[in-house]
Symmetry: C2
Subunit: 344 residues, 2 copies
Amino acid sequence: MPDNAEQRGFEIPARPTMKDVAAAAGVGLKTVSRVVNGESGVSEATAARVRGAIEELGFRRNDGARLLRQGSRTSSVGLILEDLADPFYSQLSRAVEDVARSHGSLLLTGSSAEDPARERELALDFCARRVDGLIVVPTAADHGFLAPELAAGTAVVSVDRPVTGLTVDTVLTANRRGVAEGVGHLIRQGHRRIGYLGDNPAIFTAAERLAGYRQAMAHEGYEIAVSWVAMGKPEPVGIHLALDRMLSGPDPVTALMCGNNRTTVAVLRNLASRPERPALVGFDDFELADMLPVPVTVVAQDPALMGRMAAELLFRRLRGERAQVQRLEIPTRLVPRGSGELPL
Amino acid sequence: MPDNAEQRGFEIPARPTMKDVAAAAGVGLKTVSRVVNGESGVSEATAARVRGAIEELGFRRNDGARLLRQGSRTSSVGLILEDLADPFYSQLSRAVEDVARSHGSLLLTGSSAEDPARERELALDFCARRVDGLIVVPTAADHGFLAPELAAGTAVVSVDRPVTGLTVDTVLTANRRGVAEGVGHLIRQGHRRIGYLGDNPAIFTAAERLAGYRQAMAHEGYEIAVSWVAMGKPEPVGIHLALDRMLSGPDPVTALMCGNNRTTVAVLRNLASRPERPALVGFDDFELADMLPVPVTVVAQDPALMGRMAAELLFRRLRGERAQVQRLEIPTRLVPRGSGELPL
DNA sequence: GTGAAAGCGCTAACAC
DNA sequence: GTGTTAGCGCTTTCAC
């Protein structure tokens, strides 16, 4: 029985420590440490006795104490994103996890739900646990509060969006170019009246993609009617009203560009109950896009690659690389499937 | 400048400690501790000086050291599942995260990729970090290695599958009943020759669901031809061969039951290139199932509820509840959408 | 109100 | 080969 049983609360059973193992095996503390850490300089007989005691007591080294003493890295990284359940982010997470694992690091995850206060709390909690680094999909708020952590050696990388108030490595999608390519594709099919539906423009990616649409239209010298643009959360009511406006009136659109996959899906659902069949290109791919009655043409992002790159950048910094701060743009890929190639 | 700068490695900048703050503010260590932890008994003037020093140095309390000294819980839980990128698990994760958050706990996540060695390594790493509890989607391997951790007060809950070699709270889907309901639904449409495609039966859920199919068929006194059952990883080739067998010969099936959503999707893709249109019910819902050319009837699981229940059970144990070990079965829900109601 | 000293579980440094 | 000591950054205890 560990000798510190009474010091712990009633509910938390005492865990055996190296001291307990040493006592049980009749050896010194350092010998146990040597055996646990596979260091040389212990006779096989002694080592066997120690292993026996470890087994018997169910001892497991307390890495918290080890880390504290060593003052070294904690071999853990924190990942903060908008919503772990969103397919885009869950793919990104998985990629981050794989890279972290390959570097021997554990992964702490948290969803900010687009709430700056929650994001901040998560980030600071992670830092208090002394994660080696932080990979963040930042909300729009200022991130100056992380400056002391950065100065103290916590690596930070932002992904999907740039972070404001902090200069760190960043991995983005080529949002403007991607949307412009999608819109250009529609234009090449003969469309001139093209509507755009995107997310709340306070979100960096939403604003960038909208800008890509405007650029592509301006490039051809096409005017954009006010009723052709609708920005906001991808909710059924908003989408319905927006499509009402876009598809009726004197200048109805003949094609639609959607700014993200939630919007694309909401638009498809709404279109199902209408007679019109506008051409459609979605930004960001989604499962079964190719199986729908009219397979959906998309501008695909690569969330796994983004996660991998972000994690690689992080570990590069942790390895001590002092290279200039990087800003990577991952290219998109146009995937024609049918909805974007509908005749005018 | 912190006074322990030289003791740290070159790459890792020294972080200011309470000692540094105390020196900077010209107060004792304990006074800093009081201010940091919001304890009473510090004059406002002193507190202000301390806060100033904290701000200036960019001090952040090291929770690792705090936890070590307190010997209390670490306010962190570990989640081990098959693949974070799988929608089923990412929804489950998000629910676990929300519950953990509401209890003030951080979440460590890891994907086992169905590899027992990897799962074991993750679990033990988490335990070495002294997580308060572990939520596991266990592989088939024996989990006796967790017994010492359980004895030492680490709470363990298994979810989606039962764990072998350990008696812990478990949250499962009503696999047999769910599949039986789906098959019964097909039978009520007049089908008698119903095929079943499921995952590798070494996986608990795959075996249970197959049993549910057999039960439902036996209940009606219907024989099952050997060619009607195909179990294995949901890969295109295997699915193709299986459907070849099921849809031809003297006793072709008129309906299909699919054991999980990966299989359902693979089957739908394969059927797209065939003339036959068997009725189909899938186990586990998936996004856009309702938007496909023939909307897909499914037996829906509730991954978020499963995650929430598992986490609640975990925190209940951590609160010290000594109730008997529980085994919860979350009911499924039949969602008729068309594919399961096709005429014979 | 304030602070000095001890110690959480471990490892580093240096005995023997 | 093995053990002893000090100390990581913090909280606890107890003295002033």
